[in-house]
Each structure stands twice: as C-alpha cells, then as structure tokens.
Amino acid sequence: MVGELESAVAISIGENDEVIVAEDTEGDLSGHGTACAGIIRGLAPEAKISSVRVLEAGFTGSGGILLAGLRYAVEQGFDVINMSLSTTKKPFAAVLHELADSAYFRRNVLVASAHNMPVESYPWRFSSVISVGSHEVPDPFTFFYNPTPPVEFFGRGVNVRVAWTGGRSAAVSGNSFATPHIAGICALILAKHPELTPFQLKSVLYLTASNVGDHT
C-alpha cells in the first residue's frame, strides 16, 4: 500500500560501537514506518521514498541508533527527512542539535514529531527543524501555524486511515502521523520550488497555513 521504495536500510550498532548500515531485509517490524510512508505517498504520490530503520527488536530508544540513522539520512542528502520519534536522553541532545543544524544548512528539511507530554525531548524542540503537533480536522492538506512555539505547525493527526503491516489498514491518532502530513506537504512544495532553503520553506508553510491570511 506504500508502493516501491527507493532504498531501505537498517541501522545498528556493532560490538565495537561502530555504526552498521545494512540493506534492510526484514522490513517494517512495528508498522511505524509503513504508516508514515503511506501518508507521505498519499499526499505526494510521485515522491521517492527511502526507509532508514532505527527500530529493532530489543531497541528501547537509547538514542545511539537514532543518531546514526539521522546522520546517515543527512549524509545521503534527502530533501525531506520525516522523524516521527524523539529521544529523551540529554547526552544525545547536543549531537542531535549539531546534526539538525547541519541538515538545515545543507537543505535537508527535518520534520519532527512534537511531544504533547511535559517532558524534555529532542530533536523537535530545535528551531532548525519543523516541529509538528496534531489537529483533528479530517483533511490531509489542512495544517495550522502555531503562534506560540515550540510546536510550529499542526498537521492531521487524529483518526487517520493509514497503511499497516500485513496489508492491513488502521485508524490511528498521534503526532507520529501528523508529522508525515507536513513532510508530504513539504515534498510537494519542494517539488515545485526545489531552490527553497528550509527557512524559505518554513515561510511558505506559514503563509499557506489554514489559519494565516485570507482563505475565503
């Protein structure tokens, strides 16, 4: 239901703490990537989608694999990087911040899920990423600008019908699903205006948000 992927890799950490990037032969283990990729495919059908898997059995969000996966994605120069996840580990915050900034300068737009719980988590709080919370309007192209950051935009994130593993579909809710809506919209904007910097792209998102300007 997601269609063909451009590439799919799995990130892991070896015995000597080395980062291993291998072709992903296992596929989606949780349904997370499938759901997010399906949403992006729905909004931007011609986008080339690559999968970088940082979730595996036994992984509990330690942050190391997340960092390695993001570094790989930035090095690959993907135009839009969807991150429907975050880490609460403070030691990773500084490195994550540097990576987010370098993505911003290299024109790799990072779209990250905001937390709706009162905990410190990253990378969504960094101003170099586009952070996303949820609204409940049942329209994939409706999104709102938030004048009171740190969350910058609200995408569709409640009762979203998504592709699921095993050829199933499900109605899901959560900022994890609002994020690929904004990522898909970013892909559409960049397809038409590939020269935009992340700063300009954010400005376009602001100016075209459903609650900004005159939409009558």
């Binding site: 059995a57 509990t60 969000g61 899901v172």
Partner: protein
Amino acid sequence: MSDSGDLTAAVAAGVTGSEEDYRALLSAIVEVARAIFGAKASSILLLDEEAHELAFAAVVGEGEEHLVGVRFPAGTGIAGWVLATRTPLVIEDVNTDPRFASNVAEDTGFVPKGLMAAPLLHEERALGVLEVLDRPEQSLFSLQEMELLGMFANQAAIAVDLLLRARAAEQILEHDDGELTAVARLAHAVAGLEDERRRAGLELLRNLTSTLGPRPSLL
C-alpha cells in the same frame, strides 16, 4: 562501607510502603485509566533495562488473571514502538485489505481491536508503557482524549518512578550485609512510634547524631 545514596535509600525503604502497597498503586492507575476512557481493559508494562524486556506489571480487564509477569522483547509490538519513539499512539479499527488476505495468516503480530498507548517517561528515562484497550466503538477518538492520555501517562509515570525507587531501595537492603538493614530498621521503628515515645525517640536520635557527628572546632 556503603555510600550515602545507599544509606538514604535504606532509610527510605524503612518507612515506605510494602510490595502490596506498590501493587495496589499500579492497580489503581490502570483502574482509573480504564474508567477515564470507558475502555474494557488497561495495563502497565514496565521496562527491564538489563534484559531489554517489557513486563506486564498491572492489568485490569481481559487478561488480568494471567498477564501479570508475562514478558516480551522491548522493541516489539505496539508497546515497544511507543517506548522506542517516546510518543503516544492510538490505533483502532484495524482492517484487512482483501488483496493481502493471504499475508495476514502468516502474520503473528498482535492485532488489537483498539489500543491507546503512551510512554511512561520521567526526566530522561523511559520507565514503561501505559496501555488502554478497546475504547467504546461508537465514539471517534478526539484530540482532547489524546491530550488526556498524555497528561494521565505523565501522572502515572511520576507514581511509577517513586515506586521503582522504593523497590530499588529494598533491593539494596536485600543485598546488604546488615549495616544498611540496621539503619532501615531504626527508621521503621521511629516511624511507627506515637506521641510521647516518638518525641523521646527523636530526642534520642538528635543526641546520637550530635555524638556521632563531626566534633566542634576548638577555636
């Protein structure tokens, strides 16, 4: 000699609740979670960091007789996803596309009819996952409920953190050769005193502290 952190833990263990109290606290959390959302079942899964496993610590509703204590690898299933991504998730109304019907039989993953799950986060630690299963089918999930889930999970995480600290303190005592146990017993004994005996006991402790404490300077 144990460090001061262990001593503090020992005193804490001397005056905090019993294992029954902890179980009652966890049960109360899942009972309230189930009631808030009008759901059929709710559970708390705690993370065993060393074993990289999630274990059912409290269950109300379906499975409450046999699920407590059951473990599975922490990175798998919806709970594993929620724990790893640190984000709450609601999944309902799972349907099979007829084009893929043959694949589903081979899929052994847990297929919930409806499930809400939120990570139990305290400061930078992920303690476990709160799950609420099978909300009423007639009602569509709302943004307000999503926020409520996050807020309730936060409150639950604070309670679970206190509980885990108390359990850790007791474990320190269990492996102690007697030194810390003596301090814990003393704390427990003083906590159990009343009125005049309590005042007398505390006065005795103050004098003891003064005797054992650093000698005053002769300046």
